[in-house]
Structure formats: structure tokens, C-alpha cells
Amino acid sequence: MSEMSRMKFYCDDHRCIECDGCSVACAEAHELPTGINRRKVVTLNEGIEGKEFSTSIACMHCTDAPCEQVCPVDCFYIREDGIVLHDKEVCIGCGYCLYACPFGAPQFPRDGAFGTKGAMDKCTMCAGGPLETNSAHERELYGQNLIAEGKVPVCAAMCSTKALIVGEASEVAKIYRQRISSKGKGVQSAPYGWSKAYGN
């Protein structure tokens, strides 16, 4: 698979306003239990003028995903489009993927009488899991499968500043380049603003 056609997330920290909308949308869309945050907004250098910025983190669907390399039960699979998914019915909740992951993405709900670590949970890029697409079972284990319906993952879809974008790596790079090159060119004046419409 070409590197440029892989699905990627990108969060523009010049735009992220730490509204937490993405993580709330994610938790709601997939009905995640409390304590599980597939996506999380973090702020760095808080209070330091000029250096403070926020960004939204989830599984980054890595090329050569480290999680996939260490899993003792080999339950990961990487889709044609580069989305990294795993089979929760094979996963044993050992935690190894978390140790390998550069982004702290894998999480573990406690289950059972002894409170052992349950099957790992992470961002699916809204692409569900290995079960029958859009079945109740898939939805219960992995959440919604928006990709199968041709929709944009819910976090990026709702991002109000469009800081968080998702798509083929080449497309994401294109948007990023456009934003960089248009920086400092002034604000676009709207053709039909309030003043034009009411002429004051």
C-alpha cells in the first residue's frame, strides 16, 4: 500500500481550542464506558505565553504499527486503507500493545469479578471491527462503523475549527500545505456579512 493513500489523522495545534468536542463526540457516538477515552485533548505548556497549545490525541494508525508487532495473540489487522484494528474476541488484555504504543492509545476496561484487565479498546477511526459490518455485535464491541457508510469519523466531522482532519495521507498533507501557504494573507471578507445585508 502506498504511504500516501493510508488513512491518517492530523490535528493542527494552531487551530485546536481545547473544546473537547472531539472526545465527547467519540464517547457518545460509540457509547464508551466512563473511564475510556479513545480520544483525548491535552494542553501543553499551559499558561506560558506564546508556547501554550492544545492538541487532540488518539490512536494514530501507525505505519508498521508497534502494537501489532508485540501482540502475543496476533489479534491486530491492518486494513487496505491503513486503519489499524484488532479483534476483541481474541485479545487477552495483556497490555503489551500499550507498552509498545508511542501515543498511549490502548486502554483497558476492568471486567470480571477480579477486576482483571478486559479486552483492549482504542480508536477504530470509526471503522468498527472484524465482525459483520454494522451488526449489533460489531456496534457493541467496537462502536459505530461510519467508514462503511462513507461518512467521516465523528471526531473530525464535528471539529468546529477543523483543527482535526482525517483522510488519505496525501489529502491531509495537501490541506496542511494550503493552510501554511495562506497563513498571514489576511482574513477573507465574507460576501454577505451582517453589514452588507443590512447596510449600516
Binding site: N37, K40, V42, L44, I57, P66, Q69, V70, C71, P72, V73, D74, C75, D87, E89, V90, C91, I92, G93, C94, G95, Y96, L98, Y99, A100, C101, P102, F103, G104, Q107, F108, G112, F114, G115, T116, K117
Partner: protein, 299 residues
């Protein structure tokens, strides 16, 4: 003993109370994890763990699982077991307390070691409920072992220090390379048993601590992070690496110990069951101990 149990329960309690706090991994600390991953100033434990787990751990465990028993199989065929006359005089070597502690430790290990292997070869076994059960049993069997490991450490400590006998024992590989029956220099424990003692007790404690670290995962022990200078996630990576590397030693010696007790020395297993060893077995395999018992007029 009672106090000791309270101590263990209190420790577990404290560890679980620590959960209530803000997540050390997925909270704001998550950023440290990202910066700490493979950056110049960190130990690069993430990539290190990934490389070791991907390339080495499974292969080494496989080598041990096949290699060590094959070596013993050859030993059994070529040199054969040591057989001492039974029905002769017996020497009472382990009292009820020793046996009880040893039995609990043995039963725990009989669960811990195979389940550890099931997790490691989880992919070949298809993962899912079988391997998940093994993981839960692995953790569960840790509890009885954690209870007996300190008494076991203390009760055999004075017999486990190395001395000159052990150098001689190692030079002749414990006499296991010949069938000849002449007294071998060893006290109550021979050099091999002493090595196993240290690996099983101190190594066992390391296995308990690293295992518990992985089990509890998102606990909050500030002191630990301060002393080690590691973030929570690096602490977990470190624990996983140590658990596997120490695991090599534990598994090798466990298999050796099992072979010696069950096959290489016929009847040796009675020492853990009723506490007796054959008079001649002690005389030959634990020459110095036998001499000492004789001098003390105990036999």
C-alpha cells in the same frame, strides 16, 4: 503469620485505592509518554520493548522449552537416573512447616509456568478464551506464591549461602555426568539447589513485583516514579522486560528442579511429600550434610 497476611491484604488494598486518582497513563501524563518515546533524553524503553518482544522473547522461551528438556532426555538415556535403595533407613529432612510452604510454592509454580507459556505462545493457540483463562490463572496463582515466598526465603536462608563445597560441586557438575556413587561435596543443599533457591525467592519476588505492576497498570505510587525517574508507562515497559528476562531464569531452573526431583533421582520427590530422604541418597548427594548429621549424632 497472621500479621503477615494482614500486611499482604493491606498492600493489595493500598494498590487498589491508588486507582481512584487521576490516570497516570491516559491523563495529562499521556504527553510525557509521547515525548518520552524514542526521544534523545529518554531510555527509549518503548522501542526497546517492542524490539525485544517482537524478535527475541518468544524465540528464547521456545528454545528453553525445547532445549532444556531435550538435554535432560539425553542425560536420562545416556547416563540415567540415580537410584538409591528404598526401604532402607530414611532421614527426616523437612518438617511439616517446610513441606507445607514448599508444597504451596510448588503448586503455584505448576500453574504459573505453563500458563506463562500459554500467554507467550498465545498466537499459536488462537488467543481468545483459553489464553485469557491462562492469563487469569497466572495472576491468581501469584497470590499463594506471594504468601509463601518470604517464609520460604527465611526458612532456607542459612542453608543457601555458597561455600567451598559449591565450587567443588560445580567443578564436577554435581556428579551428574557419571553413574559412580561416591560422596559429593554438598551441604543440606547443593550448589544447583542454592542457585534455584535464590532464583525462586529473590527472582520470584521480582516476578511478583513486575507481574503486579503489569496487573494493576494504572496505579499511582508517586514515590516509585520519583525513585526511578520513569513515567508510569516506562515503569510498565521496564516491568514487562524484566518479567520476561527473569522469566528465562525461572523457567530454566524450574525445569531442572522438576527433572531432578521427578526423574533423575528416583524417589527424591518424597522429601516434599513426607519429608524423608533415603539414607544413602543423603550420604552420596549431600556428603557434607551427612557428615554433619553424623557428628551431631542425629543419625
Amino acid at each position: 503469620m497472621r500479621k503477615y497476611l494482614y500486611f499482604i491484604i493491606a498492600t493489595l488494598f493500598l494498590a487498589s485505592a491508588a486507582f481512584a486518582a487521576e490516570s497516570q497513563i491516559w491523563g495529562d501524563g499521556r504527553v510525557l509518554n509521547i515525548f518520552g518515546y524514542g526521544q534523545v533524553e529518554s531510555l527509549k524503553l518503548g522501542p526497546l520493548f517492542t524490539m525485544l518482544q517482537k524478535e527475541y522473547f518468544e524465540v528464547i522461551f521456545f528454545g528453553i522449552l525445547v532445549g532444556v528438556p531435550s538435554a535432560f532426555f539425553l542425560h536420562y538415556l545416556i547416563i540415567g537416573p540415580k537410584v538409591f535403595p528404598h526401604g532402607g533407613k530414611k532421614i527426616y529432612v523437612f518438617n511439616l512447616f517446610h513441606r507445607f510452604i514448599h508444597q504451596i510454592a510448588a503448586l503455584s509454580f505448576i500453574v504459573i509456568v505453563p500458563t506463562g507459556f500459554i500467554i507467550i505462545f498465545g498466537a499459536q493457540l488462537g488467543g481468545g478464551s483459553l489464553v485469557r483463562l491462562a492469563k487469569d490463572m497466572h495472576g491468581l496463582a501469584t497470590i499463594p506464591f506471594a504468601i509463601v515466598v518470604i517464609p520460604m526465603f527465611l526458612m532456607w536462608l542459612k542453608d543457601a549461602f555458597f561455600n567451598f563445597d559449591d565450587v567443588k560441586w560445580i567443578m564436577i557438575v554435581g556428579g551428574y555426568l557419571s553413574k559412580e556413587k561416591k560422596p559429593i561435596p554438598a551441604g543440606k543443599f547443593n550448589a544447583g539447589q542454592k542457585m534455584w533457591y535464590w532464583i525462586a525467592t529473590l527472582g520470584g519476588m521480582i516476578m511478583i513485583i513486575t507481574g503486579a505492576t503489569m496487573y494493576f497498570m494504572d496505579f499511582d505510587i508517586e514515590l516509585l516514579r520519583q525513585i526511578s525517574g520513569l513515567t508510569q508507562i516506562d515503569l510498565l515497559r521496564f516491568a514487562a522486560i524484566v518479567h520476561n528476562v527473569m522469566g528465562f531464569g525461572v523457567v530454566v531452573f524450574f525445569i531442572v528442579h522438576l527433572y531432578m526431583a521427578m526423574f533423575a533421582i528416583k524417589g527424591a520427590v518424597h522429601a516434599i511429600i513426607d519429608g524423608h530422604m533415603e539414607d544413602e541418597e543423603v550420604k552420596i548427594l549431600h556428603g557434607s550434610y551427612y557428615k554433619k548429621l553424623k557428628e551431631e549424632g542425629k543419625i
